[in-house]
């Protein structure tokens, strides 16, 4: 190596030495400085006491001069903006009154579920999740991380809440979330097309509906009257199937064990046979097997279908698009009755409840917030029901009565509320049913029957075996 290069190498070595030494000195100075600042910090002031309106003998303690207590809230983005705005306005109104800091994080609903799981796993759950995964976080006592809210429900008015809706967040007699408004998956019904073929009133039974749809098809060959979602994406396919199935006498779950599964029964076979009949008569759009969430929405909005099972998010879209002709021609009604007179609506596998994590340092504050938000039923009605065209089924009986006064269209929609169920007939959260729904197992049966052309009974039996495996794994028996 040349002399010059050797010299250069020596200088570089010195340079590295000095930089390293400098970094060590800086780190040491920072550590000393931090230690000194901790030692000389003034002690926190003594807290003062504020009595709140929570109807227990507990008091909520807040510090008035030191750090404000803080609530972290994980919220979903809402289909109708008004719902999000209502919630946030009520939260900030309460926060200002109570001197509490709130931090609301808003995420799309699909991301919200994953985020909740990640935060619980990390040991840093939010104080409040809206909506929370009640099935995952409350059903099993071993993984239960939610706080019971019976005192909150009592304060808001338990008698004013529909029992079928309250059950959606109940486990072992306790309520772990307040279902804010489960999806009201009624029928969007083109009354103009049905009136054309002689049906002045909506058909009363599914068999009458089939006859009416056939007549519509004869009159309008390019229309596929029944926009039934038959995909297996674990979205609209769930409640599309369950609504029909429960009307035909089907039961999702009766108890939390393998004995509680009733898939391989005549009602299920009858349901799939009914759909197969509609499929073979070209009453269902040929791409319905592949539909994800928006498939049936698009079918109705484009005029391809005359009847779809969906929450009034479609009607909301119609109004947003100012398609007043379609709005006038649309009724939102309960489904027809099944062969034995059953008539039920599935809200899907998630009840969209607001819930509090029991690890929260401010459980009482969180409860007080929920009471504040939901006690104002007038604001709830305007934002969650009227502004969204009934997208969410109102949970309060008094609200339903007030909404009906808006007119006959609203009356028909509100008549559906007592029919809205979740995991019928158990009515309570079930991780097994969630897994079955998310995996699109109902939709896969359609594929087996229509694409693989196996008999309905065999396809139902196969699916039943797979569901049984899930039930046994989740419930241990």
């Amino acid at each position: 190596m040349s002399e010059e290069k050797k010299e250069e190498k020596m200088d570089r070595r010195k340079y590295i030495k000095y930089v390293g030494a400098g970094a060590v000195v800086a780190a040491a100075a920072a550590a000393i400085g931090y230690g000194v600042s901790e030692l000389t910090k003034p002690p926190p002031p003594k807290p003062t006491t504020i009595v709140t309106t929570v109807p227990t003998t507990k008091v909520i303690t807040t510090a008035t001069t030191a750090k404000k207590p803080k609530l972290t809230i994980l919220e979903r983005t809402w289909f109708a903006d008004a719902i999000g705005r209502w919630f946030e306005a009520k939260v900030y109104e309460w926060a200002q009154k109570r001197g509490v800091e709130v931090e609301i994080s808003t995420l799309p609903v699909a991301d919200l579920n994953k985020k909740q799981i990640a935060l619980v796993e990390a040991g840093t759950p939010p104080d409040i999740a809206f909506p929370a995964l009640v099935g995952m976080f409350a059903e099993d006592p071993k993984t239960r991380v939610l706080e019971p809210l019976d005192d909150v429900i009592n304060e808001i008015g338990r008698d004013d809440i529909f029992e079928n809706i309250l059950k959606m967040c109940s486990v072992d007699g306790k309520v772990y979330g307040l279902p804010v408004g489960p999806d009201n998956n009624i029928l969007h019904y083109r009354k103009d097309l049905f009136e054309e073929v002689g049906y002045k009133q909506p058909p009363d039974t599914w068999d009458e509906m089939y006859e009416a749809m056939k007549k519509i098809k004869e009159k309008h060959p390019s229309i596929y009257p029944f926009g039934l979602c038959m995909g297996s994406g674990g979205e609209d396919d769930i409640y599309n199937f369950e609504t029909l199935w429960w009307c035909f006498g089907g039961k999702s779950i009766t108890e939390r064990s393998s004995k509680g599964l009733h898939f391989n029964e005549q009602a299920t076979i009858d349901t799939y046979n009914y759909v197969l009949k509609c499929w073979n008569d070209n009453l269902i759009p040929p791409d319905a097997l592949t539909w994800l969430g928006p498939g049936n929405n698009n079918a109705y909005l484009s005029g391809k279908s005359a009847v779809v099972i969906n929450a009034p998010s479609i009607y909301y879209q119609i109004m947003q698009q100012q398609n007043f002709d379609l709005a006038k021609a649309t009724l939102c009604i309960p489904p027809p009755k099944g062969p034995k007179g059953d008539r039920l609506i599935s809200c899907g596998i998630f009840a969209e409840p607001i819930a509090i994590f029991k690890e929260s340092e401010n459980v009482d504050l969180a409860k007080d917030l929920i009471i504040h938000v939901f006690k104002d039923k007038d604001a709830y009605m305007k934002a969650c029901v009227l502004a969204s065209y009934g997208f969410m089924a109102p949970i309060f009986k008094s609200v339903v009565e007030n909404v009906k006064k808006q007119g006959p269209w609203w009356e028909m929609l509100m008549d559906a509320i007592p029919l809205v169920w979740f995991n019928y007939p158990l009515g309570e959260p079930s991780r097994a049913m969630e897994e079955i729904g998310v995996k699109g197992m109902y939709g896969r049966v359609y594929s087996r029957i229509i694409v693989d052309k196996i008999p309905v009974e065999q396809a139902v039996k196969e699916a039943h075996e797979q569901m049984l495996e899930i039930f046994r794994r989740v419930y241990g028996s």
């Binding site: 070595r13 979205e235 791409d287 592949t290 699109g440 896969r444």
Partner: protein
């Protein structure tokens, strides 16, 4: 301490912080996943040691093997398609013609569009009633294709993969083509070699290593692809397009058992490891 040892120590100290970061973001998750695969770990619950039970369940699961088969078909057909079409584009763009620069820029366009936007665009393009592809097919041939049907769903997601992935191959192969000395072609021309012979005996050997490494890297990425196929089909209809990544995702967020999901990821390693090792060896060479 000897001079060489001192130099080594300085070098080690300087890379040590990077090594810590690499350890935290790579080795720790890897070893934790391996550790978790021997446990049942429900969200919010305690981990329970269950030995090899997760692996037994996975290796006896029809749906796991179905997803491996679907992913393999998706990868092999997709990578071959990208290679052939990418090579054609690269050969074309290697020629001198007016507008070549513009075309070279445009070709990257699908690559830069975010994956979710790609999926949304193609979801609309494939629509049976409103999609432009079917409107054109109906106009020209009086027929429409249900792209996301059980018969065509896998083909549909492969088409999307091709559209998105061809630019990567084109760019890599074009760079490779430009590194082949022109004198070889001139010499072949003098000897009377045809275009096909030049391609066989000059171009392909010159691109050998680039083709191998690009295909392998693309293969590894494609095998673990998730976003676009999930957005288009959610793994359906049925399980026709349930790629392994979609399968793992669905199992994770329906069972909420992270031990099982970790075991599925570990079961994937034997499929990917040979390719990873080959690439590492080639890079070393």
């Amino acid at each position: 301490m000897k001079l060489q040892q001192k130099n080594d120590l300085y070098g080690f100290l300087l890379v040590f912080p990077s090594f810590i970061i690499l350890g935290l973001i790579f080795f720790y998750p890897l070893f934790y996943t391996l550790f978790l695969s021997f446990y049942e770990k429900l969200a919010g619950g305690e981990a329970k040691y269950i030995g090899l039970q997760n692996f037994v369940k996975i290796l006896t699961s029809k749906s796991f093997y179905n997803s491996i088969i679907v992913s393999t078909m998706y990868t092999v057909i997709g990578v071959l398609g990208k290679l052939l079409i990418g090579l054609s584009f690269a050969l074309f763009l290697n020629e001198e013609f007016k507008g070549r620069r513009f075309l070279r820029g445009i070709i990257i366009f699908p690559w830069v569009i975010p994956v979710f936007a790609t999926a949304m665009i193609w979801y609309w393009l494939f629509d049976l009633q409103l999609g432009p592809i079917n409107i054109i097919l109906d106009y020209l041939f009086k027929t429409r294709i249900q792209w996301i049907s059980p018969d065509y769903a896998l083909l549909s997601i492969i088409i999307v993969q091709l559209w998105k992935g061809i630019p990567f191959f084109t760019v890599c192969l074009l760079a490779g083509l430009q590194s082949i000395p022109k004198e070889l072609y001139d010499a072949a021309e003098v000897d009377g070699a045809s275009s096909w012979k030049k391609f066989l005996y000059i171009t392909l050997p010159g691109l050998k290593y680039i083709i191998a490494s690009t295909s392998l890297i693309s293969g590894i990425w494609t095998f673990s692809e998730f976003t676009a196929p999930y957005m288009l089909t959610r793994g359906g209809p049925g399980d026709k397009t349930e790629l392994i990544a979609i399968h793992i995702y669905k199992e994770t967020f329906s069972r909420y058992d992270f031990g099982y999901s970790s075991a599925m990821v570990i079961c994937l390693l034997p499929f990917l490891l040979p390719f990873i090792l080959y690439i590492l060896r080639s890079m070393g060479r």
